[in-house]
Amino acid sequence: MSALAYRTLGLIWLGAVLFFLYAPILVMAAMSFNASEFYQLPFRFSTQWYARLADNQEILDAAARSVLIALCVTAIATTLGSMASIAMFRHEFRGKRLLQVLLFPPIAIPWLITGTAMLIFFFGVGLGRGTPAVIIGHVALAIPYVIVVVTARLATFDPTLEEAARALGADAWTVTRRVTLPWIAPGIVAGALFAFAVSFDQFVVSYFLSEPGDSTLPVLIYTAIRKGFTPEINAISTIIITLSMTVMLIAARYSKFGGDR
Protein backbone atom coordinates (compact mmCIF):
# COMPACT_ATOMS: atom_id res chain seq x y z
CA MET A 1 0.00 0.00 0.00
CA SER A 2 1.15 3.52 -0.61
CA ALA A 3 1.96 5.97 2.14
CA LEU A 4 -1.18 7.90 1.28
CA ALA A 5 -3.31 4.80 1.73
CA TYR A 6 -1.77 4.19 5.14
CA ARG A 7 -2.37 7.75 6.10
CA THR A 8 -5.99 7.65 4.94
CA LEU A 9 -6.57 4.38 6.76
CA GLY A 10 -5.08 5.90 9.91
CA LEU A 11 -7.28 8.95 9.70
CA ILE A 12 -10.36 6.83 9.15
CA TRP A 13 -9.45 4.79 12.21
CA LEU A 14 -9.00 7.91 14.30
CA GLY A 15 -12.28 9.25 13.01
CA ALA A 16 -14.04 6.01 13.92
CA VAL A 17 -12.62 6.15 17.44
CA LEU A 18 -13.76 9.74 17.86
CA PHE A 19 -17.18 8.73 16.60
CA PHE A 20 -17.24 5.88 19.12
CA LEU A 21 -16.26 8.27 21.90
CA TYR A 22 -18.72 11.03 21.12
CA ALA A 23 -21.70 9.43 19.37
CA PRO A 24 -23.34 7.97 22.48
CA ILE A 25 -22.90 11.21 24.37
CA LEU A 26 -24.41 13.18 21.51
CA VAL A 27 -27.29 10.71 21.19
CA MET A 28 -27.91 10.95 24.91
CA ALA A 29 -27.84 14.74 24.71
CA ALA A 30 -30.12 14.76 21.67
CA MET A 31 -32.65 12.61 23.51
CA SER A 32 -32.87 15.24 26.23
CA PHE A 33 -34.45 17.48 23.58
CA ASN A 34 -36.89 14.84 22.39
CA ALA A 35 -40.44 15.32 23.53
CA SER A 36 -41.17 11.60 23.98
CA GLU A 37 -40.95 10.25 27.48
CA PHE A 38 -40.05 6.81 26.15
CA TYR A 39 -37.34 8.03 23.77
CA GLN A 40 -39.61 7.34 20.86
CA LEU A 41 -38.71 8.47 17.38
CA PRO A 42 -39.36 10.44 15.18
CA PHE A 43 -37.63 13.18 16.99
CA ARG A 44 -39.75 16.08 18.13
CA PHE A 45 -37.83 18.99 19.58
CA SER A 46 -38.82 20.08 23.04
CA THR A 47 -37.17 21.70 26.01
CA GLN A 48 -39.79 20.38 28.39
CA TRP A 49 -37.34 18.12 30.21
CA TYR A 50 -35.16 21.09 31.02
CA ALA A 51 -38.21 22.99 32.14
CA ARG A 52 -39.08 20.06 34.39
CA LEU A 53 -35.59 20.09 35.81
CA ALA A 54 -36.09 23.65 36.91
CA ASP A 55 -38.99 22.44 39.02
CA ASN A 56 -37.31 19.35 40.40
CA GLN A 57 -36.14 20.56 43.77
CA GLU A 58 -34.39 17.29 44.55
CA ILE A 59 -32.17 17.46 41.47
CA LEU A 60 -31.54 21.17 41.92
CA ASP A 61 -30.52 20.59 45.52
CA ALA A 62 -28.25 17.75 44.53
CA ALA A 63 -26.69 19.88 41.78
CA ALA A 64 -26.13 22.76 44.18
CA ARG A 65 -24.65 20.36 46.71
CA SER A 66 -22.35 18.83 44.10
CA VAL A 67 -21.07 22.23 43.06
CA LEU A 68 -20.65 23.34 46.65
CA ILE A 69 -18.77 20.18 47.57
CA ALA A 70 -16.60 20.49 44.48
CA LEU A 71 -15.76 24.09 45.38
CA CYS A 72 -14.83 23.15 48.96
CA VAL A 73 -12.78 20.24 47.69
CA THR A 74 -11.07 22.45 45.12
CA ALA A 75 -10.16 25.04 47.72
CA ILE A 76 -8.83 22.54 50.26
CA ALA A 77 -7.10 20.15 47.86
CA THR A 78 -5.49 22.94 45.86
CA THR A 79 -4.14 24.65 48.96
CA LEU A 80 -2.83 21.50 50.62
CA GLY A 81 -1.56 20.00 47.38
CA SER A 82 0.26 23.15 46.32
CA MET A 83 1.83 23.50 49.76
CA ALA A 84 3.11 19.95 49.63
CA SER A 85 4.41 20.41 46.08
CA ILE A 86 6.33 23.52 47.08
CA ALA A 87 7.80 21.78 50.12
CA MET A 88 8.94 18.84 48.04
CA PHE A 89 10.34 21.16 45.42
CA ARG A 90 12.30 23.27 47.87
CA HIS A 91 13.84 20.63 50.02
CA GLU A 92 15.68 17.41 49.77
CA PHE A 93 14.97 15.12 52.68
CA ARG A 94 14.91 11.51 53.56
CA GLY A 95 11.64 9.77 52.75
CA LYS A 96 10.76 12.16 49.93
CA ARG A 97 10.63 9.29 47.49
CA LEU A 98 8.28 7.41 49.83
CA LEU A 99 6.01 10.44 50.07
CA GLN A 100 5.82 10.58 46.30
CA VAL A 101 4.98 6.89 46.14
CA LEU A 102 2.23 7.42 48.72
CA LEU A 103 0.41 9.61 46.21
CA PHE A 104 -0.16 6.56 44.11
CA PRO A 105 -2.77 4.63 46.14
CA PRO A 106 -5.54 7.23 45.94
CA ILE A 107 -5.19 7.25 42.15
CA ALA A 108 -4.45 3.58 41.54
CA ILE A 109 -6.61 1.65 44.01
CA PRO A 110 -10.10 1.08 42.63
CA TRP A 111 -12.52 3.58 44.09
CA LEU A 112 -14.75 0.72 45.17
CA ILE A 113 -12.07 -0.27 47.68
CA THR A 114 -11.24 3.27 48.76
CA GLY A 115 -14.90 4.17 49.06
CA THR A 116 -15.91 1.18 51.14
CA ALA A 117 -12.81 1.56 53.31
CA MET A 118 -13.75 5.19 54.00
CA LEU A 119 -17.29 4.14 54.81
CA ILE A 120 -16.03 1.63 57.37
CA PHE A 121 -13.54 4.04 58.89
CA PHE A 122 -15.86 7.05 59.10
CA PHE A 123 -18.46 4.87 60.76
CA GLY A 124 -15.87 3.48 63.13
CA VAL A 125 -14.84 6.95 64.29
CA GLY A 126 -18.42 8.13 64.57
CA LEU A 127 -18.42 10.57 61.67
CA GLY A 128 -20.80 8.41 59.66
CA ARG A 129 -21.97 9.36 56.20
CA GLY A 130 -22.86 12.81 54.96
CA THR A 131 -21.46 15.85 53.26
CA PRO A 132 -18.40 16.25 55.55
CA ALA A 133 -17.44 12.64 54.88
CA VAL A 134 -17.86 13.17 51.15
CA ILE A 135 -15.66 16.27 51.25
CA ILE A 136 -12.95 14.49 53.24
CA GLY A 137 -12.98 11.63 50.76
CA HIS A 138 -12.95 13.79 47.65
CA VAL A 139 -10.11 15.96 48.93
CA ALA A 140 -7.99 12.86 49.47
CA LEU A 141 -8.68 11.74 45.91
CA ALA A 142 -7.95 15.19 44.49
CA ILE A 143 -4.72 15.97 46.39
CA PRO A 144 -2.51 13.63 44.33
CA TYR A 145 -3.77 15.16 41.08
CA VAL A 146 -3.02 18.66 42.35
CA ILE A 147 0.45 17.64 43.51
CA VAL A 148 1.24 15.98 40.19
CA VAL A 149 0.08 18.96 38.15
CA VAL A 150 1.68 21.62 40.35
CA THR A 151 4.93 19.64 40.58
CA ALA A 152 5.04 19.44 36.80
CA ARG A 153 4.78 23.21 36.63
CA LEU A 154 7.38 23.64 39.40
CA ALA A 155 9.81 21.56 37.37
CA THR A 156 10.01 24.50 35.00
CA PHE A 157 10.71 26.92 37.84
CA ASP A 158 14.26 28.05 38.53
CA PRO A 159 14.95 27.57 42.25
CA THR A 160 17.61 30.30 42.23
CA LEU A 161 14.77 32.78 41.81
CA GLU A 162 13.73 31.93 45.34
CA GLU A 163 17.31 32.23 46.53
CA ALA A 164 17.65 35.58 44.81
CA ALA A 165 14.54 36.83 46.55
CA ARG A 166 15.77 35.60 49.90
CA ALA A 167 19.15 37.19 49.35
CA LEU A 168 17.28 40.44 48.77
CA GLY A 169 15.80 40.10 52.22
CA ALA A 170 12.41 38.57 51.48
CA ASP A 171 10.98 36.27 54.14
CA ALA A 172 9.54 32.87 53.25
CA TRP A 173 6.03 34.18 52.77
CA THR A 174 7.13 37.09 50.58
CA VAL A 175 9.24 34.75 48.47
CA THR A 176 6.29 32.44 47.99
CA ARG A 177 3.80 35.18 47.27
CA ARG A 178 5.88 37.43 45.05
CA VAL A 179 8.12 34.97 43.24
CA THR A 180 7.01 31.34 43.44
CA LEU A 181 3.25 31.66 43.20
CA PRO A 182 3.22 34.01 40.21
CA TRP A 183 5.27 31.46 38.31
CA ILE A 184 3.34 28.35 39.26
CA ALA A 185 -0.07 30.05 39.11
CA PRO A 186 -1.02 28.35 35.81
CA GLY A 187 -0.15 24.99 37.38
CA ILE A 188 -2.25 25.78 40.42
CA VAL A 189 -5.19 26.85 38.27
CA ALA A 190 -4.90 23.62 36.28
CA GLY A 191 -4.61 21.63 39.51
CA ALA A 192 -7.68 23.37 40.89
CA LEU A 193 -9.68 22.54 37.77
CA PHE A 194 -8.57 18.92 37.99
CA ALA A 195 -9.61 18.87 41.64
CA PHE A 196 -12.97 20.33 40.71
CA ALA A 197 -13.45 17.73 38.00
CA VAL A 198 -12.39 14.88 40.29
CA SER A 199 -14.94 15.93 42.88
CA PHE A 200 -17.73 16.97 40.56
CA ASP A 201 -17.59 13.76 38.53
CA GLN A 202 -16.88 11.47 41.44
CA PHE A 203 -19.52 8.82 41.79
CA VAL A 204 -18.19 5.75 43.55
CA VAL A 205 -16.83 7.36 46.70
CA SER A 206 -19.81 9.71 46.95
CA TYR A 207 -22.11 6.74 46.53
CA PHE A 208 -20.78 5.07 49.64
CA LEU A 209 -20.34 8.24 51.70
CA SER A 210 -23.29 10.45 50.91
CA GLU A 211 -26.24 10.52 53.20
CA PRO A 212 -29.77 9.82 51.98
CA GLY A 213 -31.47 13.06 51.09
CA ASP A 214 -28.09 14.75 50.87
CA SER A 215 -26.73 12.91 47.88
CA THR A 216 -24.62 14.41 45.14
CA LEU A 217 -25.76 14.66 41.56
CA PRO A 218 -24.01 11.53 40.23
CA VAL A 219 -25.41 9.47 43.10
CA LEU A 220 -28.87 10.82 42.42
CA ILE A 221 -28.50 9.95 38.74
CA TYR A 222 -27.38 6.42 39.60
CA THR A 223 -30.37 5.85 41.83
CA ALA A 224 -32.60 7.36 39.18
CA ILE A 225 -31.12 5.18 36.42
CA ARG A 226 -31.76 2.10 38.49
CA LYS A 227 -35.38 3.14 38.82
CA GLY A 228 -35.80 3.46 35.07
CA PHE A 229 -34.69 6.09 32.58
CA THR A 230 -36.41 9.38 32.01
CA PRO A 231 -35.43 12.16 29.61
CA GLU A 232 -35.05 14.32 32.68
CA ILE A 233 -31.93 12.27 33.48
CA ASN A 234 -30.75 12.98 29.93
CA ALA A 235 -31.28 16.67 30.49
CA ILE A 236 -29.31 16.83 33.72
CA SER A 237 -26.64 14.55 32.26
CA THR A 238 -26.29 16.84 29.28
CA ILE A 239 -25.81 19.80 31.57
CA ILE A 240 -23.22 17.93 33.66
CA ILE A 241 -21.22 16.71 30.73
CA THR A 242 -21.18 20.12 29.10
CA LEU A 243 -20.04 21.66 32.36
CA SER A 244 -17.28 19.18 33.08
CA MET A 245 -15.98 19.20 29.51
CA THR A 246 -15.84 22.97 29.60
CA VAL A 247 -13.92 22.91 32.86
CA MET A 248 -11.45 20.45 31.38
CA LEU A 249 -11.04 22.46 28.20
CA ILE A 250 -10.07 25.42 30.35
CA ALA A 251 -7.77 23.20 32.41
CA ALA A 252 -6.11 21.93 29.24
CA ARG A 253 -5.24 25.48 28.32
CA TYR A 254 -3.34 25.79 31.58
CA SER A 255 -1.76 22.38 31.72
CA LYS A 256 0.74 20.82 29.40
CA PHE A 257 -1.94 18.86 27.59
CA GLY A 258 -2.72 21.84 25.46
CA GLY A 259 0.90 22.51 24.60
CA ASP A 260 3.13 24.70 26.70
CA ARG A 261 1.49 27.97 27.20
Binding site: Y39, L80, L102, L112, F121
Partner: protein, 287 residues
Protein backbone atom coordinates in the same frame (compact mmCIF):
# COMPACT_ATOMS: atom_id res chain seq x y z
CA UNK B 1 16.93 30.75 72.58
CA UNK B 2 15.66 30.86 69.04
CA UNK B 3 15.54 27.68 67.05
CA UNK B 4 18.48 27.19 64.74
CA UNK B 5 17.60 28.28 61.21
CA UNK B 6 18.21 24.80 59.79
CA UNK B 7 15.72 23.49 62.34
CA UNK B 8 13.35 26.25 61.37
CA UNK B 9 13.57 25.17 57.76
CA UNK B 10 12.77 21.63 58.81
CA UNK B 11 9.73 22.91 60.67
CA UNK B 12 8.74 24.81 57.55
CA UNK B 13 8.90 21.67 55.43
CA UNK B 14 6.87 19.82 57.99
CA UNK B 15 4.32 22.62 58.10
CA UNK B 16 3.91 22.60 54.34
CA UNK B 17 3.83 18.85 53.89
CA UNK B 18 1.93 17.57 56.87
CA UNK B 19 -1.56 18.96 56.09
CA UNK B 20 -1.75 17.13 52.77
CA UNK B 21 -0.29 13.92 54.11
CA UNK B 22 -2.32 14.01 57.30
CA UNK B 23 -5.36 14.32 55.12
CA UNK B 24 -4.31 11.37 53.00
CA UNK B 25 -3.65 9.39 56.16
CA UNK B 26 -7.08 10.10 57.60
CA UNK B 27 -8.95 9.57 54.37
CA UNK B 28 -6.99 6.79 52.68
CA UNK B 29 -4.48 4.98 54.83
CA UNK B 30 -6.38 4.76 58.10
CA UNK B 31 -9.54 3.64 56.27
CA UNK B 32 -7.58 0.92 54.50
CA UNK B 33 -6.25 -0.21 57.87
CA UNK B 34 -9.76 -0.10 59.32
CA UNK B 35 -10.91 -2.26 56.46
CA UNK B 36 -8.21 -4.78 57.18
CA UNK B 37 -9.37 -4.83 60.80
CA UNK B 38 -13.00 -5.28 59.80
CA UNK B 39 -12.15 -8.13 57.51
CA UNK B 40 -11.17 -10.28 60.48
CA UNK B 41 -14.35 -9.62 62.46
CA UNK B 42 -17.32 -11.93 62.57
CA UNK B 43 -19.90 -9.13 62.57
CA UNK B 44 -20.06 -5.34 62.43
CA UNK B 45 -18.90 -4.03 65.81
CA UNK B 46 -21.63 -1.38 66.06
CA UNK B 47 -24.46 -1.37 68.58
CA UNK B 48 -24.78 -4.51 70.63
CA UNK B 49 -23.83 -7.08 68.04
CA UNK B 50 -21.95 -10.07 69.25
CA UNK B 51 -18.62 -10.10 67.40
CA UNK B 52 -15.26 -11.72 67.70
CA UNK B 53 -12.09 -12.00 65.68
CA UNK B 54 -12.14 -14.66 63.03
CA UNK B 55 -10.83 -15.51 59.64
CA UNK B 56 -14.19 -16.82 58.51
CA UNK B 57 -14.58 -14.10 55.90
CA UNK B 58 -11.39 -15.10 54.19
CA UNK B 59 -12.37 -18.71 54.61
CA UNK B 60 -15.66 -17.86 52.89
CA UNK B 61 -13.67 -16.62 49.93
CA UNK B 62 -11.79 -19.90 49.68
CA UNK B 63 -14.62 -22.24 50.52
CA UNK B 64 -17.51 -20.69 48.65
CA UNK B 65 -16.66 -21.01 44.95
CA UNK B 66 -19.01 -18.11 44.14
CA UNK B 67 -16.46 -15.47 45.08
CA UNK B 68 -13.52 -17.03 43.29
CA UNK B 69 -15.70 -17.58 40.23
CA UNK B 70 -16.75 -13.96 40.24
CA UNK B 71 -13.22 -12.71 40.79
CA UNK B 72 -12.09 -14.76 37.85
CA UNK B 73 -15.02 -13.42 35.83
CA UNK B 74 -13.99 -9.87 36.73
CA UNK B 75 -10.38 -10.58 35.85
CA UNK B 76 -11.50 -11.98 32.50
CA UNK B 77 -13.58 -8.87 31.95
CA UNK B 78 -10.54 -6.78 32.80
CA UNK B 79 -8.37 -8.65 30.30
CA UNK B 80 -11.03 -8.38 27.63
CA UNK B 81 -11.57 -4.65 28.08
CA UNK B 82 -7.81 -4.04 28.24
CA UNK B 83 -7.17 -6.03 25.08
CA UNK B 84 -9.91 -4.30 23.11
CA UNK B 85 -8.78 -0.90 24.35
CA UNK B 86 -5.17 -1.53 23.36
CA UNK B 87 -6.12 -2.85 19.93
CA UNK B 88 -8.37 0.11 19.29
CA UNK B 89 -6.29 2.72 21.06
CA UNK B 90 -2.75 2.03 19.91
CA UNK B 91 -3.32 2.66 16.19
CA UNK B 92 -5.21 5.76 17.20
CA UNK B 93 -2.27 6.98 19.30
CA UNK B 94 0.09 6.13 16.45
CA UNK B 95 -1.89 8.22 14.01
CA UNK B 96 -1.92 11.10 16.48
CA UNK B 97 1.78 10.89 17.27
CA UNK B 98 3.31 10.07 13.92
CA UNK B 99 0.89 10.87 11.14
CA UNK B 100 -0.79 14.12 12.10
CA UNK B 101 1.29 17.25 12.63
CA UNK B 102 0.91 20.71 14.02
CA UNK B 103 -2.20 22.31 15.41
CA UNK B 104 -4.50 19.57 14.17
CA UNK B 105 -2.67 17.08 16.36
CA UNK B 106 -3.10 19.23 19.44
CA UNK B 107 -6.81 19.64 18.81
CA UNK B 108 -7.46 15.99 17.97
CA UNK B 109 -5.47 14.84 20.97
CA UNK B 110 -7.53 17.06 23.23
CA UNK B 111 -10.71 15.69 21.64
CA UNK B 112 -9.64 12.14 22.41
CA UNK B 113 -8.74 12.91 26.01
CA UNK B 114 -11.70 15.12 26.79
CA UNK B 115 -14.38 12.46 27.35
CA UNK B 116 -12.15 10.89 29.95
CA UNK B 117 -12.71 13.94 32.11
CA UNK B 118 -16.46 13.86 31.83
CA UNK B 119 -18.75 12.03 34.16
CA UNK B 120 -18.34 8.27 33.79
CA UNK B 121 -21.84 7.56 35.01
CA UNK B 122 -23.31 9.83 32.38
CA UNK B 123 -21.31 8.12 29.67
CA UNK B 124 -22.52 4.70 30.77
CA UNK B 125 -26.04 6.05 30.82
CA UNK B 126 -25.51 7.26 27.24
CA UNK B 127 -24.63 3.75 26.18
CA UNK B 128 -27.70 2.40 27.90
CA UNK B 129 -29.80 4.79 25.83
CA UNK B 130 -28.00 3.78 22.64
CA UNK B 131 -27.95 0.03 23.21
CA UNK B 132 -31.48 -0.60 24.41
CA UNK B 133 -33.55 -2.81 22.18
CA UNK B 134 -35.63 -0.57 19.99
CA UNK B 135 -33.06 2.05 20.88
CA UNK B 136 -31.15 4.45 18.73
CA UNK B 137 -28.61 1.92 17.48
CA UNK B 138 -31.21 -0.52 16.26
CA UNK B 139 -33.35 2.19 14.68
CA UNK B 140 -30.50 3.84 12.86
CA UNK B 141 -29.13 0.54 11.62
CA UNK B 142 -32.56 -0.42 10.33
CA UNK B 143 -32.92 2.94 8.67
CA UNK B 144 -29.65 2.42 6.79
CA UNK B 145 -29.68 -1.30 6.13
CA UNK B 146 -32.08 -2.82 3.60
CA UNK B 147 -32.95 -5.73 5.91
CA UNK B 148 -34.30 -5.77 9.46
CA UNK B 149 -31.78 -6.43 12.18
CA UNK B 150 -32.42 -7.13 15.81
CA UNK B 151 -29.57 -5.47 17.64
CA UNK B 152 -30.27 -5.94 21.23
CA UNK B 153 -26.95 -5.59 22.95
CA UNK B 154 -28.30 -4.20 26.18
CA UNK B 155 -27.91 -6.52 29.16
CA UNK B 156 -25.12 -8.58 27.70
CA UNK B 157 -21.42 -8.97 28.36
CA UNK B 158 -20.85 -7.17 25.06
CA UNK B 159 -22.67 -4.12 26.42
CA UNK B 160 -20.53 -4.13 29.56
CA UNK B 161 -17.35 -4.40 27.50
CA UNK B 162 -18.42 -1.61 25.16
CA UNK B 163 -19.27 0.68 28.05
CA UNK B 164 -16.01 -0.02 29.87
CA UNK B 165 -13.90 0.37 26.72
CA UNK B 166 -15.58 3.69 26.18
CA UNK B 167 -14.74 4.69 29.75
CA UNK B 168 -11.09 3.68 29.72
CA UNK B 169 -9.95 3.91 26.10
CA UNK B 170 -8.51 7.41 26.55
CA UNK B 171 -6.04 6.04 29.13
CA UNK B 172 -4.30 3.76 26.67
CA UNK B 173 -4.39 6.37 23.93
CA UNK B 174 -2.81 8.90 26.28
CA UNK B 175 0.01 6.67 27.51
CA UNK B 176 0.71 5.16 24.07
CA UNK B 177 0.75 8.62 22.57
CA UNK B 178 3.28 9.85 25.10
CA UNK B 179 5.40 6.76 24.50
CA UNK B 180 5.23 7.09 20.72
CA UNK B 181 5.92 10.79 20.78
CA UNK B 182 9.14 10.14 22.65
CA UNK B 183 10.43 8.00 19.76
CA UNK B 184 12.81 10.07 17.70
CA UNK B 185 11.72 10.19 14.07
CA UNK B 186 15.35 9.85 13.03
CA UNK B 187 15.25 6.27 14.40
CA UNK B 188 12.52 5.44 11.95
CA UNK B 189 14.44 7.19 9.17
CA UNK B 190 17.54 5.27 10.13
CA UNK B 191 15.66 1.97 9.94
CA UNK B 192 14.27 2.95 6.55
CA UNK B 193 17.71 3.89 5.29
CA UNK B 194 18.78 0.38 6.16
CA UNK B 195 16.02 -0.95 3.98
CA UNK B 196 13.46 -1.98 6.62
CA UNK B 197 9.86 -2.23 5.49
CA UNK B 198 6.92 -0.63 7.30
CA UNK B 199 5.99 -3.78 9.16
CA UNK B 200 9.56 -4.46 10.18
CA UNK B 201 9.89 -0.93 11.50
CA UNK B 202 6.66 -1.33 13.42
CA UNK B 203 7.60 -4.67 14.90
CA UNK B 204 11.30 -4.11 15.52
CA UNK B 205 11.55 -0.40 16.28
CA UNK B 206 8.27 1.26 17.19
CA UNK B 207 6.52 -1.44 19.21
CA UNK B 208 9.48 -2.26 21.48
CA UNK B 209 10.06 1.41 22.20
CA UNK B 210 6.38 2.19 22.74
CA UNK B 211 5.74 -0.91 24.81
CA UNK B 212 6.24 0.65 28.26
CA UNK B 213 3.64 3.30 27.45
CA UNK B 214 1.17 0.75 26.13
CA UNK B 215 1.64 -1.48 29.16
CA UNK B 216 1.23 1.45 31.51
CA UNK B 217 -2.07 2.23 29.82
CA UNK B 218 -3.08 -1.43 30.04
CA UNK B 219 -2.47 -1.50 33.79
CA UNK B 220 -4.36 1.74 34.26
CA UNK B 221 -7.33 0.14 32.51
CA UNK B 222 -7.15 -3.31 34.01
CA UNK B 223 -7.07 -2.23 37.63
CA UNK B 224 -10.27 -0.16 37.74
CA UNK B 225 -12.15 -2.57 35.48
CA UNK B 226 -11.56 -5.48 37.86
CA UNK B 227 -13.20 -3.39 40.58
CA UNK B 228 -16.04 -2.00 38.47
CA UNK B 229 -19.60 -2.41 39.65
CA UNK B 230 -21.63 0.48 38.32
CA UNK B 231 -21.07 -0.29 34.65
CA UNK B 232 -21.99 -4.00 34.87
CA UNK B 233 -25.03 -3.14 36.95
CA UNK B 234 -26.40 -0.68 34.45
CA UNK B 235 -25.39 -2.41 31.24
CA UNK B 236 -25.12 -6.06 32.28
CA UNK B 237 -28.60 -6.92 33.51
CA UNK B 238 -28.82 -10.64 34.19
CA UNK B 239 -25.15 -11.24 33.34
CA UNK B 240 -24.05 -8.12 35.22
CA UNK B 241 -23.05 -9.84 38.44
CA UNK B 242 -19.33 -9.36 38.99
CA UNK B 243 -16.93 -9.31 41.88
CA UNK B 244 -17.45 -5.57 42.27
CA UNK B 245 -21.23 -5.84 42.43
CA UNK B 246 -21.00 -8.46 45.15
CA UNK B 247 -18.77 -6.17 47.22
CA UNK B 248 -21.21 -3.33 46.64
CA UNK B 249 -24.04 -5.59 47.82
CA UNK B 250 -22.23 -6.41 51.04
CA UNK B 251 -22.02 -2.73 51.89
CA UNK B 252 -25.25 -1.35 50.48
CA UNK B 253 -27.78 -4.15 50.83
CA UNK B 254 -26.67 -7.12 52.92
CA UNK B 255 -24.80 -5.22 55.63
CA UNK B 256 -22.13 -7.83 55.90
CA UNK B 257 -19.33 -5.29 56.07
CA UNK B 258 -16.72 -7.70 57.40
CA UNK B 259 -17.26 -10.00 54.43
CA UNK B 260 -17.27 -7.01 52.09
CA UNK B 261 -14.02 -5.83 53.66
CA UNK B 262 -12.42 -9.23 53.23
CA UNK B 263 -13.56 -9.40 49.61
CA UNK B 264 -12.24 -5.88 49.05
CA UNK B 265 -8.94 -6.87 50.55
CA UNK B 266 -8.61 -9.86 48.30
CA UNK B 267 -9.26 -7.52 45.39
CA UNK B 268 -6.73 -5.06 46.77
CA UNK B 269 -4.17 -7.86 46.96
CA UNK B 270 -4.81 -8.72 43.32
CA UNK B 271 -4.54 -5.07 42.32
CA UNK B 272 -1.38 -4.47 44.34
CA UNK B 273 0.14 -7.63 42.90
CA UNK B 274 -0.51 -6.37 39.40
CA UNK B 275 0.80 -2.90 40.22
CA UNK B 276 3.92 -4.39 41.77
CA UNK B 277 4.51 -6.50 38.69
CA UNK B 278 3.94 -3.51 36.48
CA UNK B 279 5.81 -0.91 38.53
CA UNK B 280 9.14 -1.27 36.70
CA UNK B 281 7.24 -0.75 33.46
CA UNK B 282 5.28 2.16 34.88
CA UNK B 283 8.47 3.78 36.12
CA UNK B 284 10.02 3.34 32.72
CA UNK B 285 6.99 4.83 31.07
CA UNK B 286 7.17 7.87 33.33
CA UNK B 287 10.54 8.94 32.03
Amino acid sequence: MAIHPAGQRRLGVLGLLSPAYLWLTVAIFLPLSAMLYFSVLSDVPFGDTDWHYSLENYRAFWENPVYATLLWKSVKLGLMVTLVSVLVGFPCAYVLAKVIRGRARETLFLLVILPFWSNSLVRIFSWAIVLRGNGVLERSLNAILPFEVDVNLMFSTAAVVIGLVHSYLPYVILTSYLGLQAIDDSLIDAARSMGAGKLTILARVILPLALPGVLAGAVLIFVPVVGSFMEPRILGGRVGTYYGTVIEDQFVAVFNWPLGAALSFVLLAVVLGILALASPILRKAQT
